[in-house]
Symmetry: D2
Subunit: 138 residues, 4 copies
């Protein structure tokens, strides 16, 4: 039972208000989200901090999974592996594009490419695994 962009947007707003992520698109085992960078998200040198990128990657993966299985709050991250590749721009949003690699009965695995808005040079790349509660798989 997939959920729509509006349903996921509403769920994030009520349950994860501090995430500040905008769902740009979701569906087809994929999702794109964006995140507006503020001064709190920067580290010395004027670049977006690593933990902020990890948070955005984690949420992109979560959104892509919810888009497939519906709003299942007990879906939780079990692992996240992030490579930091280039300094993100301090004055651009972060855009995260997630593609699910596997959606199994109890585990989902996906990869996330992170960019500074307006550039196609990767700033980071993540692969993560979520544990999903038992459900009926078609």
């Amino acid at each position: 039972m997939p959920s729509t962009k509006d349903e996921i947007t509403g769920f994030l707003a009520s349950e994860f208000p501090q995430s500040r992520c905008v769902v740009e698109s979701v569906g087809g085992s994929a999702a794109t989200i964006s995140f507006t960078v503020t001064s709190h998200d920067l580290r010395p040198g004027g670049t977006v901090s690593g933990p902020v990128l990890m948070k955005v990657a984690d949420i992109a993966l979560y959104v892509a999974i919810l888009g497939e299985i519906g709003i299942v709050p007990l879906t939780v991250t079990t692992s996240l592996n992030v490579n930091f590749l280039r300094k993100p721009a301090a004055d651009k949003s972060i855009v995260a594009v997630c593609r699910l690699l596997k959606l199994g009965r109890s585990l989902a695995v996906g990869e996330v490419s992170l960019y500074s808005a307006g550039s196609d040079a990767l700033v980071a790349h993540a692969v993560g695994t979520y544990s999903i509660p038992p459900r009926d798989v078609k």
Copy 2:
């Protein structure tokens, strides 16, 4: 040229004031830090969010490296791999214990064990790599 606990504490306070991490000990290719959990750090279900754990793991690794090489701000994370193992307590601090596995000429690798204060059950485990600027190695 190692740096001391006081030097690193001062550096974090001036450069990473939002980190809210306390250096408990540093030296001998290791570091222990603690992080007081607030309501902003929780996710639905009353548990500490994954990105908060990743941030604490990243800083523990940074502190352990600065303890060996001195205050080198250009030291940056190149990868972080985190496994989430158990739900952390919402009302306990997070304690992160880092041990460096390698301190090379241009890369440092370390592992971090994360606990809820007062418990010896791991809540998460991380392995991360930092790129360190060229320097004289003894």
Copy 3:
């Protein structure tokens, strides 16, 4: 100074004769290789063993990097992260498609998608990092 498919094929044959990997294509920060599965590569249950998949992923990454920087034997793996997604067919070759995410001065990072020949369902996905010796970067 990139190297060609023939140069890399010759290099692998002389230096890594036991790799048994065939370079299908290389160039444009990417590479595709194939690996013929034999009975020695199987594990109980009639599936290709995980270490074999890891070896093929590692070589795909190596080939993609050599395709960009030329034959540089001292290029060595520093990390490899593999997710095993589906059971590979025992009687099909493994095909590995690598795309470089970053080719820096001293580090290269790439991702590898592994398939059973003739199927577009991922059997495994890997992200790896190679350390590359200092060289002139254009």
Copy 4:
């Protein structure tokens, strides 16, 4: 229902004869195995190849898990993350020490430290996850 060192040794000999790993000890959520390096395991430069180290790490994790849950052949690797830290000696066995970080209902996570026999300098470090079939958990 844990299994003993002898039971696991017999199981590996019959099901994974090509593994060539010797179980040195197992129990207490841990295991130590050794692997005799032959010329087939070396790569140019006279060092043990990365895929061989990954194989040994994978088996150490498998042995530690079997030591806790008994001989359960359907236990399979779902992810392995390896960092290569120092060149292993070409003429020494590889010793792998595994410690389980979590043994859950359907997932086990462990870390593995790899050494050249007789040295306490890490040559590689791995963290891996196994999927374990449903069973009764005490």
